[in-house]
Structure formats: C-alpha cells, structure tokens
C-alpha cells in the first residue's frame, strides 16, 4: 500500500492501530502494514515511538523485587541440569560461576571482610583466573570442580549425583600426587555446592576427588595439563 508521507487521510487508516502495534497485540499482517506506513510517515513514526516507550515502560511498573534466597543457586542448577532445555557449554560454565558465587556468599566471604583481613583477592575477583574440570565417575559427569588463582587460592565444587544424601569429604590432588583434605560438605538429594580456601597455590592443584563416609572415592576431577 502506498503511504504518502504524513497524509492525514492515509494516517487515519493506521492511527487507530498504532497503540496496539506498540503493545504488540495486533496480527502480524496488520503490524507489517502499520510499520510500512510508519517508515514513510514522520508524524506516525514519532507517535509510534512514543507509544512504544510507554508500552516498554509498562513492563517496569511492577518494580524490582528481591528473589527468594537461593535464586542464583537454583538457576545454576537448572542451567547445569538442562531442565527445560539442554544447556550450552557456555551456559554450563556460567552455572558453575553462579554456584561458586552463591557458595562464596553462603560462606559469608564478603569483599570487605577479606579486604580488612589484608587479602587482596576475593573469590569474585579470583574468578578472572579460573581453571575448571568436570567431576565424574565411571565416565558420567556428576558435577564441576574449579580452582581460582589468588592468595589464597580457592576451590569450588558443584555436585549433582542423583538422589543420595550425606556428608562427603573433598580432597585436592596436588602436583606429585599428594592428596590433601580440604573439608567436608553435605549432599542433599544428590546435590551440593561448596567452596573453601586452599593452603596451596592454584598452580599446584591437579585435580580433586570426593570421598564418602566409607572412604570410597565416588567422583574425581582431573585438571587438564
């Protein structure tokens, strides 16, 4: 349809639908007709732009609300588990960062606290230099293990191993094969996320393993050389 620029008679054919177009509630065909006219009509173009700004602003009216505690961690789980759809490798890695950040928060590791203790490398800052490896058992990936460089270095771990609940011991494997116990955490319904500072440098860490109460290693991670 020809649409002479800002011809009032032509504009009248479209003006009634500008608001609904801005709100995105007109049919695709009608929308394309309106947009075709708007392209050649400065007056309707300005009106549609302003109405679109109103429509966009309407989405902000609900305001901000703090999500429930644990939102980031649950998002990390969903990204990692592939709930809803298969996560990309990128999304899986982000999920580890989210889990690690959530762990850091859960452990009460604030930037201010570390700064006041003389540290210059918070977990979040340390994420700029992270080494990650899959935590697996028998070829099945059960979670992720990562080490962030810094002083001190930190390790983080997320586990999604099924339905088992209980306390597990986390150990890191150092260069030369030495095994060092870092601490314990609890898996609930197969899931757990945990982090702790290391007494050694990140460069010395070659991997990690999880040991159950009976002393059996049920998952391990090996950092690529």
């Amino acid at each position: 349809m020809s649409s002479p620029a800002s011809d009032p008679k032509v504009c009248d054919l479209f003006r009634d639908d500008l608001a609904e177009t801005a709100l995105g509630v007109v049919s695709g065909r009608r929308r394309s007709e309106v947009l075709r006219h708007v392209e050649s009509c400065p007056s309707c173009s300005l009106e549609l732009e302003q109405l679109s700004t109103v429509a966009d602003t309407m989405l902000e009216l609900s305001g901000e609300s703090e999500p429930p505690v644990g939102f980031e961690l649950r998002l990390a789980q969903r990204l990692q588990s592939g709930e809803s759809r298969r996560p990309t490798r990128r999304a899986r890695h982000v999920s580890v960062l989210l889990a690690a950040a959530a762990v850091a928060v859960a452990l009460g590791i604030g930037i201010g606290a570390l700064a006041s203790s003389g540290g210059n490398n918070t977990p979040n800052q340390a994420m700029t230099d992270i080494t990650a490896a899959s935590l697996s058992s028998g070829g099945h990936v059960l979670g992720e293990f990562l080490v962030s460089a810094g002083k001190p270095a930190w390790m983080y771990m997320t586990v999604d191993s099924g339905t088992w609940s209980g306390v597990v011991t986390c150990q890191v494997i150092l260069a030369g094969g030495k095994i060092e116990t870092v601490g314990q955490f609890t898996l609930s319904g197969g899931y757990g996320a945990w982090g702790a500072p290391l007494t050694t440098s990140a460069g010395q860490v070659r991997g990690a393993r999880l040991v159950d109460a009976s002393g059996t290693v049920f998952a391990s991670a090996r950092i690529p050389a």
Partner: protein, 193 residues
C-alpha cells in the same frame, strides 16, 4: 523521553554484557544475572502473583536470554525491554496454564500497578518515565486502565478483551487507544517542559 539504560555499577553496559555472553565471556553472564534478577523477578511476580511461579518464570527467562544472547539485535530495542518482554511472555504462559487472565476490576494487579507502596526499590520509583506512566495510569478511567494493562502485561488483543468483557470490539480498541494516548501525552508533556 528519559530511557533507562543498563546500569553501570558493574562497569559494562547491558549491550556489552550480552555481547560478552554471546562470545563466551562467562563473567558477563554472572554480572547480567546479578544486574537483572530483581527486575525480571519483580515483573514475573507482578504478573503471576506467586513467589514460586515467579521464580520459575524468571529463571526460565534467564535460560532463554543465555540461549539467545548471540542473536540479540540492539537496533530492535534495548536489552532491558528484550529481557522484560521475554519474562512477560513466559509469565503470561504460566498464568494461562494455572489460572487464566485477571479481568476483575478489583484484581490485585490493576490496583497494585498504580500504587507506589508496592515499589520496593526507591531508586526505581525515581525513574522518571516509570513514575509518569504510573501516575498517568492511575488517573485513567478504570475501563481504560484495565484494557491497557491487559494488553501491555498480559498480551491480550482487543478481540480478547472484547470477548472477556462482553463489549464490542470497537469499544475495546477504543479503550486501548485512548488509554495509551493519555499515557503518551503525560510522558510527552513532561518531556516538553
């Protein structure tokens, strides 16, 4: 009009974060979630009215944002609008499944959207466009306000509104058009001052 752009408290613009996510910058994703979780959750809660459902909607929105970050086109709108629209559409899907669209004039959403009391973030309340639209929306006759809110937040077409409220299609379209014109006028007039 004053437009809300990406917060710079983390240094990067929203567009830069999405670009970073698109090329595999993992920290960009984390920063994006931190920046947007309150807004997306707030919108989701405003529509679905249930904390659990709102969390589900907001998380699904983030999952889709991660997935589609590589194809985001800044020429078609802001990151904020894109993210909020994804959230709105998911929230609409959620309530369609669970309990349908509100049409009762006394329904929570029509009252709360015009109330400053429900705005938990004082900084957000200070946003000029939001405050103007909120004020103008409160001043609309209830039938126009309802039509505008149903279209803007619940994606209802004029036909849907006409059917739901047993009014002629022309009346529903008129309510949307006149209501939106008043909101636009309120914002445009303020900008002209």
């Amino acid at each position: 009009m004053g437009r809300r752009t990406g917060s710079n408290d983390d240094g990067a613009s929203d567009e830069a974060l999405l670009s970073g996510m698109a090329v595999g910058d993992d920290r960009a994703g984390l920063t994006f979630v931190r920046r947007y979780q309150r807004r997306l959750y707030g919108l989701a809660f405003g529509i679905v009215g249930d904390a659990g459902d709102a969390e589900d909607v907001a998380q699904e929105a983030f999952i889709r944002i991660f997935r589609h970050a590589p194809v985001f086109d800044a020429r078609r709108g802001s990151v904020a609008t894109w993210a909020l629209t994804i959230t709105r559409n998911l929230a609409i899907d959620s309530i369609r499944v669970r309990r349908g669209i509100p049409t009762d004039p006394d329904d929570r959403v029509f009252l709360e959207l015009t109330s400053n009391e429900r705005q938990p973030d004082a900084a957000a309340a200070a946003l000029e466009d939001v405050a103007r639209v909120r004020s103008a929306l409160a001043a609309l006759p209830l039938d126009q306000r309802r039509a505008v809110v149903l279209a803007a937040l619940y994606g209802r077409t004029a036909t849907d509104i006409a059917d739901g409220e047993s009014i002629p299609l022309g009346t529903a379209k008129s309510r949307i058009r006149v209501g939106m014109a008043k909101l636009r006028e309120a914002v445009a007039n303020e900008d002209a001052l």
